[in-house]
Each structure stands twice: as C-alpha cells, then as structure tokens.
C-alpha cells in the first residue's frame, strides 16, 4: 500500500464511526520500490490530497525526511520538492502491517502490500 492510497482510505463504514479519518499506520515491513517519476502527475495530484495527513502518515513511519509540513505556494516549480513528494507518495510501499481506525481502534491488516478493508456484516452501519 502506497501512502497516496492511504490518503483516501477511511473507516467511516464502521458502525458508530463518524469520520474514520485518517487511519493510523503500524508498519512492520516497508519496501522502497522505484517507479517512473512524472513531475506533471505529482503536480496535478497534490491539490487533490490532504497534505497534512500525508505528512503525518509519512512521519509516523519514519519517511518524512526533508518533506515540508505544508505545501509552499509555487511548489510545482520546485523540482526537488516534487521528487521528494514522488518518493513518499509512490515509492514508499507498506508490505506488512495494520491500518487502525482512529475512533474504534479496529485494525485492518496489510498483507503482501494489500490492505484488507472488508468488514463483517455485524460491523457495518
């Protein structure tokens, strides 16, 4: 699971949970996988993300190094920043661990890089 995906996941479907966002991360195995760098894509995707959530998520697993906590105004012109963002968004891959609902504490296991967000019938709204 990449951090860009984490940015969009919520446990709001759980019974009694109001926002379920952001999920906290317990990572036991993190892979760094180099993938194509496309600065235009990063530039366009950043406004669609919750940057603060991204930064905190990266920080919580020890990968916030050099990443600004807030986005600077003309970030699209800062190639160094875009490269860092690219790495954190797309290259840091959580292979094994858990996602944890901030309200209920329900854990969602991540195995072989895939978070399992399935709920039982009794758990849903």
């Amino acid at each position: 699971m990449k951090l860009i995906t984490h940015n969009m996941l919520t446990s709001k479907c759980l019974k009694g949970v109001v926002t379920g966002y952001p999920l906290s991360i317990n990572a036991t195995n993190i892979n760094i996988t180099e993938v194509d760098y496309n600065p235009e894509f990063i530039t366009r995707i950043i406004p669609k993300l919750d940057w603060e959530v991204l930064w905190r998520a990266a920080d919580s697993i020890g990968h916030s190094d050099g990443l600004p906590q807030t986005i600077e105004p003309k970030f699209e012109e800062n190639n160094e920043f875009l490269k860092k963002a690219h790495r954190v968004l797309l290259e840091v891959d959580i292979e094994e661990g858990n996602l944890v609902c901030p309200e209920s504490g329900r854990r969602f296991p991540i195995s072989k890089g895939i978070p399992n967000m399935l709920l039982t019938e009794a758990e849903v709204q």
Binding site: M1, M8, T10, L119
Partner: protein, 585 residues
Amino acid sequence: MEKLKQINRKCKRFSARLKTSKGVLCVETPSTNIVLCNVGQATGFLKEDANNLLQELPTVDLLKYIAAKGESHSFLVFADVESSRLFHEAHNGKAKAMNGTVIYMNYVEGVPSDEILCTVNPPKGLKIIPDFITIEEEKEFITLFDWIDESNLKNRQVKHYGYEFRYGSNDVDLNAPLDKEIPPQCDILWDRLRAQGIAINVPDQLTVNKYLPGQGIPSHVDRHSPFGDTILSLSLGSDVVMDWKHHSNKYVPIVVPARSMLVMQEEARYDWQHAIQPRTWDPIVQIRKHERVITGDTRPRDTRISLTFRKTREGPCECCYNILCDRFKKDGELDNVLASHLEELHVHQVYEQIAGHFSTTRHKRWPRVDEFLQSIPSGAVLLDLGAGNGKNILNRNDILQIAGERSAGLLLECSAHTRAISGSDCVRLDLLHSPLRDECADVIICVAVIHHFCSEARRKQSILTIARLLRPGGVALITVWAKDQTKSNYLDTNKENRDTDLVTTIGGVNLPIHENRTQFQHSDLLVPWKLRQIRDKKLTNTSDTFLRYYHVFEDGELDDLCKPELKIENSFYEEGNWCVVCKKL
C-alpha cells in the same frame, strides 16, 4: 523383423513426446507399470477396454487402470513384472482400440496417483446406521412400492405419502393431506431408532425416490421452516456415494450403503447441502487413518430406492444456522441478509475458488472500455471497483489508479500485474461498504460487477456508492451482462436450451442453472464455471463446476438504476453487455 523395428521406432517417439510434454518417464527395462501412449480418457478409452485386452491372457494380473481427465495416454499397473511383460509382448503395436487406433505402449517407473485425499470431517449430526434393516425386510420394503403411473421428475421417479412434497416451493400444503398415509410397515423403524438413542418424533411425510443408475439429485438442503429438526432416509437396493457440501466450501463424499438409515440432525440437517451425482458408478471411498481417500476405483450403481421421512411443522424456522435458513425470505424481493448470504456462496466463494483459472481467461480489455480509459485526462484519480485481475489498469504513469476488489485470489493476480505501474495500488474492499473518502474520484469504472448483486436494493446501493465516491462532474463507466445475447458472440448456435435444473441454494430460494452459450431464460440465475483441474489432487469442492450468481439486465434497466443520482451521458450495448457512461452533477 522390419515390423518390430517400426513398432520400436514409434514407441521411442511416443516416449520422447511423453517426456517433454507430460513429464512421463518411460524406461527400457520391464517394470510392473505400463503407459498406453496414445489411448486414454480423451480418446474414449475406458477401463473396460483395458480389461478386454486381458481376455487372451489368463495369467496376467492387472491391478489398476489409471486415466487422467483430458489426457490421451493412460496407465496400467500389474501385479508383477511377468504380467506386464506378457501384456506388452502380446499387444504393443498390435492391439487396437475401439476406434481402430493401434495401441503403443512403454514401461514406466511410476504412475501418477489417482487418489484424492479428503481431510474434511463428516457433518456434525449426521449418522449412518448400517444394516438398519435385514435383507428380507429390504425385499419387503421394495415390494411396497409399485412404480406404475408415478410422477417422473427430470432425473428420478418419486412418490409421496402423508403430504405431497411440492417441488416449486419445496414444502407441503398442510391443509391438503394425502389419502395415502405412510405405510404402517414403516412403523418398525421408529423404535429401532430410539433403541439407538436417537430421539425422534414420528414422521408424517414420506417421499420415496427411485434412482436408476445414472440418475441423481442436485445439491440441496431440505427447506428449514416446513420440516422438523430430524430428517431420515432409508436406503434400499444399492449403495451410493452422497456428496456433502458446507457453505464454507468444505466437501466430503460419504458412502450410504443399502439397508442403512441416514439420520440428519443439527449441522447435517440445517447447515450442509447434499447431492447425488448423476452417474452410473461411484468412486470407492476408503477410510485410512481417519482420512477419507477417494480412490481411482469405481463400482457400478444399481437401482436405488430411498425413503425420506420428515416431520412437518408450522411457522418460521427457529434453528441457529443462518446461512441456509429460509426464515429470512420475504415475498418477492430477497431480504438483504439472504441476498448477502447468496452472494457469499455463489459469488465471493466461487471467485476465490476459480481466481487462478479465471484470471488466465481475462486479458483483453473490451474496446469501448479501453477507449474510455485512454481518454482519461492526466492527473486524474481513477477507481476501478471490482477490478478482478486488474486487466483494466492501464500502463499509464500520469494518473492514479486504485484497484478495489473483494476476492483475495484475484487481488494477488491484480497486484502482480500492476506492481510495476507507477501510480497504481490495490485495496481489498466491498463495493457496498467502500472504505474510500467521499468525492475522492475523478473517474470510476465498474465493469461486470453489479450483475453479481442479488437484490435490486443492493444493486441500487452500489450505484449510490459510485455516486458518493465521485467528485461533482466526475464520470463513471458501468457495465453489466445483458439478458439479450442475440447481438453478441456469446451464443453457440449449435446449442439448444435444455430443461433447466433448479438448485435450492439457500433460504429455500430456487435458482435455475444456466446452460452456457445459450440465450438467457431467466433474469436471476446461476452460471456454471468449469474449472480446468483439481489443484494438487486435493479436493476442495464437490466437483470442478462452480455456480456463479448473475442478475442479467434488460434493455434500459441499467439506465434506470443509475438515475437520478447519475446523469446518463451515453448508453450502449457492446458484446452482450449493457454499458453506461454517466456523470455526477
């Protein structure tokens, strides 16, 4: 001499071919095992044909004939090397199969195992009491029932006593008892059962089934509500293997001998389905060290008569086994709980079972889907809901592609396929309880998914999810299977519709089984998936055919389902599917 050389050359060629394409190692020195290089199950060669070759060879002792499914070679195992040597000498390059093919053979070291191990325990609450009646009593029971003018079901004859069992609704009409009561000769059975410690109420309904060899009964559970907690079945005339299947996909074959009494209570009564395969033979099942082994050997079936005794009851069932229970069924529309159970059984579990094979058959994107995906602008967030093996994830690094899928098996295929694609990721999710943020997507595709939801309410809920996840102005492409297949390549003109088999799946819901490659006769049905092989010789299910639930869509039905939450931009039919491109306003 020249002839012999020719045969040897042929055998060598077969030997090389078997080694490279099948991994079968032929040897020069005689052993107890022989491979028949060019006859087998695929060429129509049978065990009887092998036995026929022994006629002129009285001293030859053949132990086993092993023919794997779909193979055009087969194996013989002899008791000793002398036997196999005699057989080889007498027939190699000389004997002919029924179709005239000259049979060539080689010695082999080992033969493949034709045994299947079954580690599943029999259902709790299932008792089989052997020799429950004597041979004399069995004869008397058989003569109780004449079979003139009896109603014929598709695959067996039946008679009813006490109340008529109604096959449409799988119950009885308590207001219409039959004149024929259960024959008094049956009364000896009740005390015998009690003497075995089995507490029963005296049954008031009897169904007598007569199965000729080759006939069987589809997988079913006796409906919960109309009948009590004990169902009894007395077997006459022939042993049979009954297949038991739990909804968690456990499977166990159980031998039901003639003259035995089968008692179904607890899980066996309420939580397992049972079936008899329509075959003229049964596999020989052995118990070895508490493990059940389905041997490659078979025995022929005889005519079997079974007496199924039930006690009728009124009101909704009160069992504690939910999955197969019919008390959730409301008139017409399926209750949400029942629909989700049906999906678990006939969608989710099936995809887990067939994931590997299914994936190998799904490579190509449909042209209009591909066109739609290619046109997505750079920087977009795309959700592929029900992504399957990820065949619709494009090799683009300028969009974010999240593949959401419920099947763990398919997701592993998907993840292997998309790993190298820069902006792609996989999430295991349920479309109806999607763990994604509201309005996070610019584009959603949902290809061949919504037809797997078993109720209108759930299909609508899936559309509401798509609308919730799309940002205003975002677009979705949704496709479902169409009931009308006349304009697709799906139909096989050589195939006619047969009588449809009905399967009582769960909760007393009867679903027809679709005949593949024919026009759809129903809107809600089960579509068979034939698995290519049993993996690792370990049996996980009754057979290699799995039934997937589909709701096939009428013209305009998908458009109606999408409105008013989504605005239809384009609606079209492609290769047997209804497709819409729609926009969130």
